[in-house]
Amino acid sequence: MNKYLAGLVMAGLTMAGSAFAESHMSEEDLMKAVTARQSTMKLYAFNLGTLGAMARGTIDYNAEAAEAAAGNLVKLSSMNQMAFWPAGSDMESLEGTKALPALWEDMAGVGEAATAMTEAAVAMEAAAGTDLASLQGAMGALGGACGGCHKAYRASD
C-alpha cells in the first residue's frame, strides 16, 4: 500500500507544480487532457460494468473475468494522472468538463480520495476472485470511493 501512497503524494505534488507551470496551455491542449481523463473514466466504467452486472445477477459470476476487471481498476487508480488535470481545465474555464475548481484548490483532499479509490480497488481484486458474495460485499465500498471524489470535485447534473 505504501508504494501507492508514495506515488500518489508524488503525483499530487507534481500536479500542484504543473498547475503553475502549465497555466499557459492552449485550449486545444487543455481539451486533450480533458479527453484523456474522460477516457480513463470510461475504462473505469467498463470494468465496473462487468463487476456490477455480476453483482446484480444480470450476467453469470465468473471468477477469472471478475478478477481481471478488478485488477484493471487497481491499475487505473494507481496510474500517474498528473498531466490529465492541468490548471485551467475546470468547468468554469472550459466547456465539456464537469470538474469543479475545488479540485485544484484541495490537492491534499484529492490525494486522500485517490488513495481510498486504490484501497477499494485492491479490496475488490481480492474479493472478486473469491466468490459472488464477496464481490457483492466489496461493491458498496467501491461505489463510495467513486463518490468520494465526485461529491467534492465534480458538478452534479
Partner: protein, 299 residues
C-alpha cells in the same frame, strides 16, 4: 389637501394592517402531535429519506461525522447566501425542541419563536409528511451527537431580509396538495410520499419562477443548478429512460446504468438514499415512472 393626506395615511395603515394579518406565522393545530410516541429506529429511516444530513452536517463530513448536525454549510442563491443551522440536540441546536416544535418547523416553516423560516429549508415538501414520521424523527434526532457550533446568520438582501415578507411568499407558493394527484398503486403512493414529502426531490429537480416558487407544470422536469453551476436533470419519463431497476440501483449504489457515478449534491443524496429499504427505493422508481413526462426544451 388635508382630507387627501388623511386618506393617504389611512390607506397606508390599512396596507400595513393587511400585511400584518396576511404574514402572521401560522402554526399547526395543537392536537397534531398529541398522543404520538416516537420510535427512534423508524425515525432513522425518516432521517435518511429526509436527507437532513446533506445540508446540516459539516461540509466535508464522512461516515459517522455525517450524524453531527452542526450546520454551517453555505447555500448561495440569487436571494443571498443561507447557512444551514445547527440542528443537533444541544443548546446551540434544537435540544430543547418538543415534537410539536419540530412539526411546526418542518410542516409550517415556523420556528418555536414564531418566525418564518426561509424556504431554503424544504418545509414546502415536509409539509406533506405524516405527523407520526415527525415524531419518530424527533426521537431519533435526540440520539445523535450534540454540537455547540453557533449558527451563522443568513446573508440575504432586502426585502427578503425581513422574515415577515415570507408570510406573503407562503401565501403565493406554499401548497400542501400532491403534485401527482392520483397514485394508481400503493407502491406509487409510497413513492410519492418519499419523493414529494420526505425526499424533497422537487426542490432541486423542478424549475422555479422569479420569486423562487416551484413551477409545478414542469414537476421534476429539470432546472438550473441552484449554485449556478450546471443543471439538475429532468427525472420524469420525458428526460430519464432508465428502467425502474436501474433507478433503484442508482439510488442504492450511485452507479448509473453505464456505470458512471453520481457527482456533486447527488452523490450526497445517494449516501442518504442507500440507507433506505429496497422496497422504498423501488417505490421511488415506480413513482418517477408515473409522473407526467416533461418534454426537454427544444434547442
Amino acid at each position: 389637501m388635508y382630507t387627501f393626506l388623511r386618506f393617504v395615511a389611512l390607506l397606508f395603515f390599512f396596507g400595513l394592517a393587511c400585511f400584518y394579518l396576511v404574514t402572521i406565522p401560522r402554526t399547526l393545530p395543537e392536537e397534531t402531535m398529541a398522543d404520538l410516541t416516537g420510535d427512534a429506529t423508524r425515525g432513522e429511516q425518516v432521517f435518511w429519506a429526509g436527507g437532513c444530513a446533506s445540508c446540516h452536517s459539516a461540509a466535508e463530513a464522512e461516515g459517522e461525522e455525517r450524524l453531527v448536525l452542526a450546520g454551517g454549510r453555505p447555500f448561495a442563491t440569487e436571494f443571498g447566501t443561507f447557512y444551514a443551522p445547527n440542528i443537533s440536540p444541544s443548546d446551540a441546536g434544537i435540544g430543547g425542541w418538543s415534537q410539536y416544535d419540530l412539526a411546526n418547523a418542518m410542516m409550517r416553516g415556523v420556528s418555536p419563536g414564531a418566525q418564518h423560516y426561509y424556504p431554503a429549508f424544504p418545509f414546502t415538501s415536509y409539509t406533506k409528511a405524516d405527523p407520526q414520521d415527525i415524531a419518530d424523527l424527533h426521537e431519533f434526532m435526540q440520539t445523535l451527537p450534540a454540537s455547540d457550533t453557533p449558527n451563522t446568520p443568513h446573508d440575504v438582501s432586502f426585502p427578503f431580509s425581513i422574515r415577515r415578507v415570507l408570510g406573503g411568499w407562503k401565501l403565493l407558493f406554499f401548497r400542501e396538495d400532491w403534485a401527482l394527484a392520483e397514485a394508481p398503486t400503493e407502491q406509487v403512493e409510497r413513492g410519492r410520499y418519499l419523493v414529494e414529502a420526505l425526499g424533497h426531490c422537487a426542490e432541486c429537480h423542478t424549475p422555479r419562477n422569479a420569486l423562487g416558487g416551484l413551477d409545478t407544470d414542469r414537476w421534476l422536469g429539470g432546472a438550473p443548478s441552484p449554485d449556478g453551476r450546471g443543471s439538475v436533470p429532468n427525472i420524469t419519463p420525458g428526460g430519464l429512460d432508465w428502467s425502474e431497476v436501474d433507478i433503484a440501483a442508482y439510488l442504492k449504489s450511485g452507479f448509473t446504468p453505464e456505470f458512471d457515478s453520481a457527482g456533486g449534491e447527488m452523490a450526497e443524496v445517494v449516501q442518504n438514499m442507500s440507507n433506505l429499504t429496497d422496497d422504498d427505493l423501488a417505490a421511488i422508481a415506480a413513482y418517477l415512472k408515473a409522473v407526467p413526462p416533461v418534454e426537454p426544451p427544444a434547442n
